[in-house]
Amino acid sequence: MITASILITGMLAAASAALLGTFLVLRGSAMLSDAISHSIVFGIILVWLVTRQLSGPIPVIGAALAGVLTVVLTQWIAQSRLVRMDAAIGLVFPALFAAGVLLISLYARQVHIHVDTILLGEIGFVWLNTRPIAGFEVPVSTLTLGLVLLANLLFVAAFWHRLKLAVFDPALAAALGLFPTALYYALMTLTSITAVAAFDAVGAILFIAFVIVPPATAYLLTQRVWLMTLLAVALGALACPVGYALAVFWDVSIAGMMATMTGVWFALALLFSPRQGLLVQALQRRQETLRHDCRVMLAHLLSHQGTRRMPQENTRAALVGHLSWPESHADRVIEHAIGQDLVEQRGALLILRPAGEAAARDLFARR
């Protein structure tokens, strides 16, 4: 039961975060989620000072407002064009965070607000605060996150096309009267609400991992927004059971391990993505070098064909000596050319085959 509640809570948090994160990553506003998740500390303590409530709808709304305040302030400072956007982010959220930490240490020492709990979260404790629903004891954070996921799903589904347009071409969206700015603030409000709902499960900083990393991973795997969204949600959710199993096995932080797993997915995608992976890129570069150097060799052979120096020039030794290719590379290029039936080897001499000669002449003719 505890395992189930932890897994469900984690997956709900991951799915809600990834759903919105897709658009944040596409828009280039990923670091705003970092700012928002830190600023909610300020909102939580402010609401507590006024209402003395730590859980329930009012603190959630208050903290979410602090998140929105961060975005508004950042936008406002950046629009003054006195500092750039990234500096504006880095100016606003530390100030709010510092104010929050200070307020906690001044007025809320005796209360149960630990800033490191807010930042790191403890998903293992979600089942401590439950409420009976239909005969089951359901953790409150699971309920909240369920509602948040529903809201995020409705938002993304209702504004799907507008969101896509606002992300890729805000100017056109504005010209068409689709209010990309309003949509942007709605997106940021939902991100703030999600951050508040998720922090006591996964912690404010690990929330960032769920917002940014799965969508970024999906971005490496596909070019379609709907597939990217689906993949992001799936990858985020998948990180939860795997991370949980490893965390139990090694007896380490559950939320930390879940977030680490999103990093593992990203590393795998970065290396092995079929179209943009580092491995594919390296292979392509190698192939390109081989093809290019094969053309260089054909040109070299043609220009010395029938000349006096042909016996010296049209050999493997000349490729190594004159073109300063490493021996292994020269062998690979020759092998490639023989495989393509462009060149044949007679003793030490490399002779152009008809196809090779045609290709070489074509190279010169193109000039």
């Binding site: 970092d34 100030a95 200070l102 991992a209 971005y219 977030a259 990203f266 580092l278």
Partner: protein, 317 residues
């Protein structure tokens, strides 16, 4: 005044004030380059990525050996910077996504390592979580010496490579054309920012370190237009905020040094954004009002002219 004298008489307060001022000066100088290179948030990523390094240093040393903790932080910080570089160079992902990925994943690994340490039940483990927020009161003479050495080294590097850093910051393309090793210089700048971050962890902690880098530079930029002026002013503002913040925090219980310093430097930024001559918000607002008043006056007088003498062709009343 006697309170001030009493405070300054205390050994701990002296150390904290000196340390915070040193940190402010170092991060102000380096932050100037980071802000101008549009890498403000790199400091955020570097400081979060220091957590796994600190934990690894602890696991290797077996206790709170400051040198090893800082070395670990430097290594993982450098790794995170490399990760950001690889992601932005080799994929279509934007810089902010790369920064966020490195920040959150390295921090996640750090939290995992933190629980490894805690489960081993080491006595010194509790001290590790202070790296989140810093613990200025725990600062020692040795820490200050370390900071001073780091500060002198950083200042020397910046002075020696001043021209190169300047060109790389403002115009990396022509720096490359001039035959400078741009990659190496940029890496060097990033590396010394990582050193500054590591130095600051002890005092202000992982999360607030980003403000120490950005805020003095952003404030200084409003007042001066040259790199040299900006670097010097940012260093001074950082030192001022650091020193006086540490003093203020010493006056009251519950006033943690990091947050007080950050709030002070944020206030300095706010004042600079509002008041800076020629650039500030208030200045521009007044200039705009003056302009609109002049324009109204002129258009009114030209309208009068038109009505009286000048027939305007094609313009119907």
């Amino acid at each position: 005044m006697s309170l001030l004298a009493e405070l300054l008489g205390s050994r701990v307060v002296q150390l904290v004030v000196i340390g915070a001022a040193l940190l402010g000066a170092i991060s102000g100088v380096l932050g100037s380059f980071a802000v101008l290179r549009q890498q403000s948030l790199l400091g955020d990523t570097l400081s979060h990525a220091a957590l796994p390094g600190v934990c690894l240093g602890f696991l290797i040393a077996g206790d709170r050996h400051l040198g090893l903790l800082l070395a670990g932080a430097l290594v993982t910080g450098g790794l995170a910077a490399g990760t950001v570089l690889v992601i932005t160079r080799c994929t279509r992902l934007k810089t902010d996504a790369a920064l966020g990925i490195a920040l959150s994943v390295y921090f996640a690994i750090g939290t995992v390592l933190l629980t490894v340490i805690q489960s081993r039940g080491d006595a010194g483990a509790a001290g590790l979580s202070t790296f989140l927020f810093g613990q200025a009161a725990a600062i020692t003479r040795g820490d200050i010496q370390l900071m001073a050495v780091a500060g002198v080294l950083i200042a020397a590097v910046v002075l020696l490579l001043w021209k190169e850093f300047k060109l790389v910051t403002f115009d990396p393309e022509s720096a490359r054309a001039a035959g400078l090793p741009v990659m190496a210089l940029q890496s060097a700048l990033t590396l010394i920012v990582a050193v500054a971050v590591v130095v600051g962890l002890q005092l202000v902690g992982v999360i607030l370190m980003v403000a120490m880098l950005i805020a003095p530079a952003a404030a200084a930029r409003q007042w001066v237009g040259s790199l040299a002026g900006m670097v010097v002013l940012a260093g001074c503002l950082g030192a001022l905020a650091g020193g006086s913040g540490a003093l203020i925090s010493a006056t009251g219980r519950g006033l943690a040094t990091g947050p007080v310093v950050v709030l002070l430097i944020s206030a300095i930024v706010l004042v600079s954004l509002a008041l800076a001559p020629g650039r500030g918000v208030i200045w521009r607002w007044r200039a705009r009002r003056r302009l609109s008043r002049t324009l109204t006056r002129e258009s009114r007088s030209s309208a009068d002219l038109r009505r009286r003498h000048v027939p305007v062709r094609g313009l119907k009343r």
